[in-house]
Amino acid sequence: MTAFIKRNAAVLSAVLVAAAAICPAQTLRPDPDDPGTIADFLTTYEKSVAMIMTVRQDFDYVTPWKKLPMSRGVGTGFVIDGHRILTNAHNVANARYIEVIKQYEARRYPAKVEFVGHDCDLALLTVDDASFFNDTVPLSFGSLPQVNSTVHTCGFPVGGRQLSITEGVVSRIEYGTYSHTQAHTHIIVQTDAAINPGNSGGPVLQDGKVVGVAFQGLQSADNIGYMIPTTVIDHFLNDVKSGTYDGFGTTGFTTFDGLHNPAYKAYLGVPAEATGVVVTEVVRGGTAEGILQKGDVLTRIDDFNIDNDGMIRIYGLRLEYAEAIDRKQLGETVEIEFYRDGKPKTAKLQVALNAPVLAWARQYDQEPKYRIYAGLTFVTVSRNFLESWGRNWPSEIPFSLRYLFMHANYLIDDPNRREFVVISEILPDEVNAYAGGFKNQVVETVNGMAINALADLQLAFDTDIDGYWIVRFMNNDSPMIIDAQKARRGHDDLLRRYHVPTASN
């Protein structure tokens, strides 16, 4: 079942990493038809691979007017055409300051993020000082490498300050989770070339061309590293041509690969010779709503037949059918063929974000929103908020939030629901002295008004019922009751005492 596979895969924590290489100086050899040795290549391109140093400061999702302590990180990036530097999104996520450093040069060049795609862990940087690019040669891209072919990983891994290069072979090409968001899946290329912390964002080279961007490794194994292939990089670079990054889309349904079973096939009225996957859920409000329904059997997507494992033949490989969607930009369509009640049908599905109400993806560069009433801090439930429970958050978060995180779509009974709102922190005061038991519970209504998003609180708290704020929570018969007049009266003083700059953002 696709949905289950994605979720389980997300739990396997791949570790974000990065790389670099020492390159003996030799003559330029920019002839793309004659790639020469890796040493030749590096002679030409070594100044095109840069160390990226970042000062990062994450957001505090419990008390969002604060920020967490800053930290420093090192990664790798490389120059591509248009005076741009390509690197991993995780190198520059939540960055407050970025500088790039070239091999054999003391000077630091401040850099800025031009585009970032957290869903594919790629980012484009610009350097204000154009002289940075004077002695660089843009790297060009190749295609998907062959399994068992040799690749070289370039970057600035831990253990030294000079460019490092490691050699390895491509071991696998398949779908996998991008650990930066813990949720998005795209093609990943596995290699045994050493990929260590600091390698992230470095080019993986073959025949003088970039065939991937090093980005993560498997913590529980030796020498299993991964790169982002050029299919994903191309998608990212084409996406930003419009001047904004829109991201990868979906078609808003999940499937189950159970058609190995002839009885199931017969029950669904699918011809014995047909293969495909069974639709198990259509996302409410998604682009497949009204087109597909539970029990439909998807047999073909664009030019690709779907087998009973949900795989298609593409790029000479056998990959998840999701790749047929992944290669499209938002707004483009895929053509599908499917069976419903034994009858063949066709349809076009638009690729769109189809963002769930409670996203599984970790978010970056977005300041968390909050609102404070009566010293109660209201925030939206997100993966980032849940991760504030620490490393073992999936088992340590309150049960109601765990259930919500796993099955939010199932629990939504109001189609207007846009967010889930909880009380993340209580600033103790006389007015909220007895509200502790309601922390981390999902708000359903305030004064009888449905709270489908954080923004709904404003209107609701402008009212009261007989001088009280009545807050009701999901799966809790017991309301929280606040003296509204007392809360309004003490509001400013309470914020001042706790040094909260504003009651909302």
């Binding site: 189950f256 190995h260 009885a263 017969a266 198990t280 999936p394 007895y434 018969d477």
Partner: protein, 492 residues
């Protein structure tokens, strides 16, 4: 300051020492009253419910309450197949049978085979006594045949969860035990038995007090055993003046506890609604924490009032509802674990299961979820755990059990479904499933269809089982996986 401290230490230490000296050694008189119990039992494997676990034998301590009757705690008797008792200075085991067992209140009355006893036992009489701070002496007949004695200090009485069930009961808590204590050990105050140990840790011991023991014995001697009241609702404290004002409670009413939710079983389940404030039970005023003043124990939880009453009796609740006070007659009901939507335990019962074409269907129980190991509450899939956490005490006529597809025993016939499991069954052959026995009935619901069709909750696929090949598949499953019975449905 120092002098005061020294004096207070002396005062604190002296009384127990004096009391200890005043107490007799009852080891000899206890010889005809104490027995050592050996209980052999076997339960059922949760994931292969057609298989019994290995035989497990545990020891326990028993206390004579009649010439041939012995009282002990219920916990060690769970899933018992054989119970034997041994007397002081006697090597032969005496067969025993369970006469009455109440797992909810953790008490068990055993009857020994009188023909195996040369002389009757000397019954102990449990006496209602509570003296905070006193030393108590415990006695037990060890496995080795010796009567051993220990001491602990009676610290407090409190209403807390029984160590083996979901019910809150009155317990005496002892501190500083001089040695480890076993379930069933009798504790004496001033040479009189006042309770029986039901749990222990390095620092504390819990006792079932005489008043609970005697109530159980009276009930057990007058069959049918009806059991005691269990609370059928949840409460939260009512401290917040804003809530009291919102509920329009007059200023002079400063007591009462808030009812946050009401179950579909247990005492109060039919009479109370969430939002009620319970002011008193049988004229005992409840404070905002839900405690009342007990003449002997000072403040203890209101659950004790309900636990004291026999099922079927009526209690008077004074409540505050919709802005005014009123009295409600509440029928005392107990809660049997097997009646819960997700049973807390199924002692002495086989877990129900149904294997159809290699698909293993089971009912969800707490024991099933504990298979996830330590910290299981945070590891069990939340769509299963929520039934336990939110709805365990809320069975309805439409749903008395949670039936799940536990996992699939792979065969060629169920190809494609091998990875499925932990899915809650919504319907079988178009019938909404209330319990596992209803699935058996539903098998004949669609005689024209060539398939049995199972639908599940959440975004799960449909399971299709071909009827024509089912006998053959079932036979194959039997042989491949060594399952002698493909179904067990509790006839009760």
């Amino acid at each position: 300051m120092n002098k005061i401290a020294v004096i207070s230490i002396v005062i604190a230490v002296l009384p127990p020492l004096l009391a200890a000296e005043a107490t007799s050694d009852l080891s000899e008189p206890m010889q005809d009253s104490l027995v050592h119990l050996e209980v052999s039992g076997a339960s059922w494997e949760q994931l292969q419910p057609w298989r019994q676990t290995g035989i497990n034998t545990v020891g326990a301590y028993g206390n004579a309450v009649g010439p041939y009757e012995v009282l002990t705690t219920a916990g060690p008797l769970a899933d018992a197949v054989s119970v034997r008792a041994r007397r002081y200075d006697q090597n032969e085991y005496i067969p025993a049978r369970i006469k009455v067992i109440d797992y909810e209140y953790n008490l068990c009355l055993l009857e020994l085979d009188s023909s195996s006893l040369d002389t009757p036992l000397t019954p102990l009489e449990f006496v209602d006594k509570f003296s905070k701070g006193s030393d108590l002496w415990s006695y037990r007949l060890d496995f080795g045949g010796d009567i051993t004695k220990a001491r602990a200090n009676l610290d407090r009485a409190e209403v807390r969860y029984s160590p083996v069930s979901f019910v809150k009961t009155l317990q005496y808590v002892l501190t500083n035990p001089s040695r480890s204590t076993g379930a069933g050990e009798v504790y004496c105050l001033d040479d009189e038995p006042i309770g029986m140990a039901c749990w222990s840790s390095d620092a504390e011991v819990g006792l079932i007090p005489a008043e609970s023991i005697n109530r159980f014995l009276r009930n057990a001697q007058n069959p049918p055993y009806r059991g005691f009241g269990a609370v059928g609702f949840e409460t939260s404290n009512l401290l917040d003046p804003a809530v009291r004002n919102y509920l329009k409670m007059p200023d002079e009413i400063r007591h009462g506890v808030y009812v946050t939710s009401v179950y579909t079983m247990g005492t109060g389940s039919s009479e109370l609604v969430s939002g009620d404030v319970i002011l008193s039970i049988n004229s005992h005023l409840l404070n905002p924490y839900g405690r009342y003043r007990h003449e002997r124990y000072d403040r203890i939880g209101f659950e004790h009032l309900i636990a004291q009453a026999q099922a079927g009796e009526t209690m008077t609740f004074r409540i505050f509802r919709n802005g005014k006070e009123e009295s409600v007659d509440v029928k005392v009901r107990n809660i049997k674990a097997e009646d819960m939507l997700v049973p807390y335990y199924l002692y002495d019962k086989r877990p129900e299961y149904l294997v159809i074409g290699g698909f293993v269907f089971q009912t969800l129980t707490r024991d099933y979820m504990t298979m996830w190991g330590e910290g299981w509450q945070g590891r069990v899939p939340p769509h299963l755990y929520q039934y336990y956490r939110e709805h365990a005490f809320r069975p309805t006529e439409q749903r008395s059990d949670i039936v799940l597809l536990s996992y699939v025993l792979p065969t060629e016939a169920n190809l494609g479904y091998h990875q499925l499991g932990r899915l809650v069954v919504k319907s079988f052959n178009g019938i909404k499933i209330r319990s596992l026995d209803q699935m058996v009935e539903a098998m004949s619901n669609t005689p024209q269809s060539p398939f049995h069709v199972v639908e599940f909750e959440l975004e799960s696929p449909t399971v299709v089982i071909p009827k024509a090949s089912l006998p053959m598949t079932n036979q194959l499953v039997r042989e491949l996986y060594g399952i002698s019975e493909l179904a067990y449905i509790d006839p009760n």
